[in-house]
């Protein structure tokens, strides 16, 4: 079968924040990988042959491909955040430092590509089974496009072979395509992207251009921050508005500054849409802020530690949004611990001096430090709007079954959730089982994104399981020897028993989306990275040798998995900083294979020493905060500073590939 936009049963849009992202192109395309026609056949070979018989006639129009070109057109989205009086603060500053930073695309490269199977049951129910982070996003998109009732669509998440945000929105499109073909063919359709298709057609991290103008006092205190953020949204908006929002709210870094003016825009270009990727806008703006701190340090003759220590936020300080930081604020602790563990200040100074004395051809070493933070959970009022539910019910054998829509994509909720449930309710871990994420069974406890799974949903699980246990205890009326026996007896008398709890954000967490003032996140995780690199004097290839990541994430629930998130996120950040480069020609990705889009291998990976600090936060289960995205924020700026320390080449852009370093070194010499 072959179908086009003319065959759609309903609106031609992937329902997400809106439905402006077409399911199939209708009359025009906005990027080279936009789906135009869908073909299914009984075998892969037959499908390839059928595809060869489809021809699409394109009339090329002039594309917009750079942020500079796109800046001349109206933005897809724009937001602003202002506090105090920027212009007079700038006018009164002893120094005004300007700088521009750029970050590139990043492709997720989950090892398992996108894939979905869709079919219609005899009763007309549409079922989709596949690799995804957000079963209810897929559900919403199918309901919308097929004009079906909620109960006529069933979405099941399989084990997810890596996500990193790449399986937040895109699986909705894959599910729609597979389901449209299943409808046309009258049989199940399996659609698995090969790696080439996955790189060419799916979303990437937004490239960004960030300009800073900072007023600083003589003693190195930040007085005024003027920040302009441009993000490349690609052809369709997808999740860009929320990515931009998180970017704005992390652009000032973990620093005190009274007067700020921040403007953020997402611009439209003619490439595949850019969307969610671990960190969700925060890594780009924190790279830029950390680079700006280093420019300030250089101008004032401070070392990288000192400029941060003079400005770092502490408990009782306010962020530029007005949010009062609570007792779990640990930025200074992370900064000082990282510096002490690595002897950073002495090492940095020694390597600065070594650089000045170095003879031609001698190997180059450098060390760099970054300080970063990450808001855990949805931005702004997201959690308040969702009021995510989690249900716990008794099974016939007396065990507790917990129902959530969360998927395990490697972050480990399949291990952490039972641990939380058993510990919260004082039960054995095999007294609790977890239902598969299947929308016909589980409530919509929200998407598996935003570092919210352990902190938000984990807390709900603790409450739901404890609530159910209390019901059994209250009925039993005396101490229980074996929970399952009591639960079975209770059910025989009472019938099915279940407890549903919904998330209620803390009352004080109020955020005004029109002014961007208030508590954008209930809490933050904090981190400081020290990266040491070796630079080849002939090729300028950068090899990270050793990373120390000091992270404060509230109470650590599972030490190995938590450290694993930080180890993996750190290497992903270093890949983005040093080697992962998407090359474009006329809007087409040139390096569209794993042979040409290079991610770190075991040989490129440094020793990563993760040091976890715990300042329990009362809002999370046992004091836990979000973890998953935090480590994406710190690696790139620390690596950039380390390269400067080693080579003296100023780094304003990533990835800092050898070819670019060579070019920047030439530009520096000419100056």
């Amino acid at each position: 079968v072959c179908i086009t936009a003319a065959d759609l049963p309903g609106p031609n849009g992937v329902q997400l924040l809106d439905d402006g992202w077409p399911i199939l192109a209708d009359g025009f395309t906005l990027h080279v990988a936009e789906p135009v026609a869908l073909v299914a056949a009984p075998t892969r070979l037959a499908a390839r042959q059928a595809l060869a018989a489809v021809s699409v006639e394109y009339e090329p129009l002039a594309p917009v491909l750079t942020l500079e070109e796109a800046g001349a057109l109206p933005p897809l989205h724009e937001i602003r955040l202002e506090n105090g009086d920027l212009e007079s603060a700038l006018a009164g500053a002893d120094h005004v430092v300007e700088g521009e930073s750029r970050t590139g695309y990043q492709e997720h490269i989950y090892i398992e590509p996108q894939g979905m199977i869709a079919w219609f049951e005899r009763d007309g129910t549409l079922t989709a089974l596949g690799s995804m982070q957000c079963p209810y996003y897929v559900h919403k998109a199918l309901v919308h496009a097929f004009r079906l009732g909620d109960e006529k669509v069933r979405v099941r998440a399989s084990a997810v072979g890596g996500g990193f945000g790449g399986k937040e929105d895109f699986p909705s499109a894959v599910a729609l395509h597979a389901a449209l073909l299943a409808r046309a063919a009258g049989r199940p359709v399996k659609m698995i992207y090969d790696r080439h298709e996955d790189i060419v057609g799916t979303t990437k991290r937004h490239p960004a251009l960030i300009r800073h103008r900072t007023g600083v006092s003589r003693d190195g205190r930040l007085l005024a921050l003027d920040i302009d953020i441009l993000m490349d949204g690609g052809a369709y908006s997808t999740l860009s508005p929320v990515v931009l929002s998180r970017a704005l709210l992390h652009s000032f870094g973990p620093y005190r500054c009274p007067d700020v003016r921040i403007r953020g825009r997402v611009l439209r270009t003619h490439t595949a849409p850019n969307s969610a990727f671990r960190g969700f806008g925060a890594p780009q703006v924190q790279f830029a802020m950390e680079r700006q701190m280093d420019r300030i340090a250089r101008e004032l003759g401070l070392d990288p530690f000192e400029v941060r220590a003079r400005n770092v936020v502490e408990a009782g300080d306010r962020l530029p949004t007005g949010q009062l930081l609570d007792a779990s604020t640990a930025a200074r602790l992370c900064l000082e611990t990282a510096a002490e563990r690595t002897g950073f200040r002495e090492r940095w100074k020694a390597l600065e001096e070594a650089r000045a004395r170095r003879e031609e051809g001698e190997p180059m070493r450098g060390i760099g430090l970054s300080l970063y933070f990450h808001g855990a959970g949805f931005t702004g009022n997201g959690e308040r709007k969702m009021k995510s539910p989690v249900t716990a019910r008794l099974l016939e054998d007396g065990r507790i079954e917990v129902l959530t829509a969360m998927t395990d994509m490697g972050q480990g909720c399949a291990a952490v959730f039972p641990q939380i449930a058993a510990a919260a309710a004082g039960l054995k871990s095999d007294d609790v089982v977890f239902a598969e994420p299947d929308t016909s069974e589980v409530p919509d406890s929200g998407p598996t994104v935003a570092s919210r799974t352990t902190m938000i949903v984990g807390g709900l699980i603790a409450d739901a399981v404890s609530g159910l246990r209390d019901k059994v205890l209250a009925w039993h009326g005396r101490p229980i020897e074996r929970f399952r026996d009591a639960a079975q007896a209770f059910q025989r008398e009472a019938g099915p028993v279940e407890v549903t709890v919904r998330y209620e954000p803390p009352e004080w967490q109020a955020f005004d989306e029109s002014t961007y003032r208030g508590a954008a996140y209930p809490t933050y995780a904090w981190g400081a990275d020290v990266v040491e690199v070796e630079v080849d004097p002939d090729t300028l290839a950068v090899r990270p040798v050793q990373v120390t990541a000091v992270c404060e994430v509230g109470r650590v629930i599972h030490k190995t998995l938590c450290a694993g998130q930080i180890e993996g996120g750190t290497l992903q950040a270093l890949g983005w900083a040093l080697m992962e480069e998407v090359k474009l020609q006329d809007g087409r990705y040139l390096n569209d294979r794993l042979a040409t889009y290079i991610i770190p291998t075991a040989k490129d990976s440094p020793r990563i020493d993760v040091h976890l600090l715990e300042q329990p936060w009362e809002g999370g289960p046992f004091g836990a905060k979000g973890v998953g995205e935090l480590p994406m924020d710190g690696g790139a700026p620390a690596a950039a500073q380390a390269i400067e320390n080693a080579t003296g080449i100023p780094i304003h852009e990533i990835p800092a590939t050898p070819e670019r370093l060579l070019r920047w070194a030439g530009e520096e010499t000419q100056r």
Binding site: H108, I111, R195, M409, E567, G568, L594, I599, A602
Partner: protein, 150 residues
């Protein structure tokens, strides 16, 4: 063509196109879905299996090269001498999403059979053809080099 070889100690005899990929034979004809496809062009290592004891990328091996060979997949490691290594691998944080894991443990096991106590450099070298996007390789290397768990 007809091909006879062994998979995980059992004899296999089947008809197929000479260029049929061993990966597809394993997954689709023999139901051994432990072996994963990550790129289909020999870059990611997710489809690694052992042929006559050597780690090989099954997406690049056509059926015509399988005649008379001894093939071992990740399924064969579940029990037997690899068991304690696999347990250490999980406890050390070597697994997150699991998609690269079959290829990584097969490659690792081939190394450990040759060299029961590899250094970090030897382990890195052996694993250079196996991409992992989740772990940063730290948990994997801890398991291979028998360093303490975190």
């Amino acid at each position: 063509m007809n091909a006879s070889f062994s998979v995980n100690g059992r004899p296999v005899d089947l008809e197929g196109h000479p260029m049929e990929r061993l990966l597809d034979v394993l997954r689709e004809r023999l139901g051994l879905t432990g072996t994963k496809e990550g790129c289909g062009e020999g870059e990611c290592g997710a489809c690694t299996v052992l042929i006559d004891g050597e780690p090989v990328l099954s997406c690049l091996v056509p059926l015509l090269q399988c005649e008379g060979r001894r093939i071992e997949t990740v399924e064969s490691l579940a029990e037997g001498p690899a068991r304690s290594f696999l347990e250490r691998f999980v406890a050390s944080g070597g697994v997150q999403c699991g998609a690269c894991t079959p290829g990584i443990v097969v490659t690792s096991w081939a190394l450990l059979r040759e060299k029961p106590k590899p250094t970090r450099e030897e382990a890195r070298e052996a694993l250079a053809g196996n991409l992992c996007r989740c772990t940063g390789y730290e948990g994997i290397l801890r398991a291979l080099c028998e360093e303490p768990e975190r």
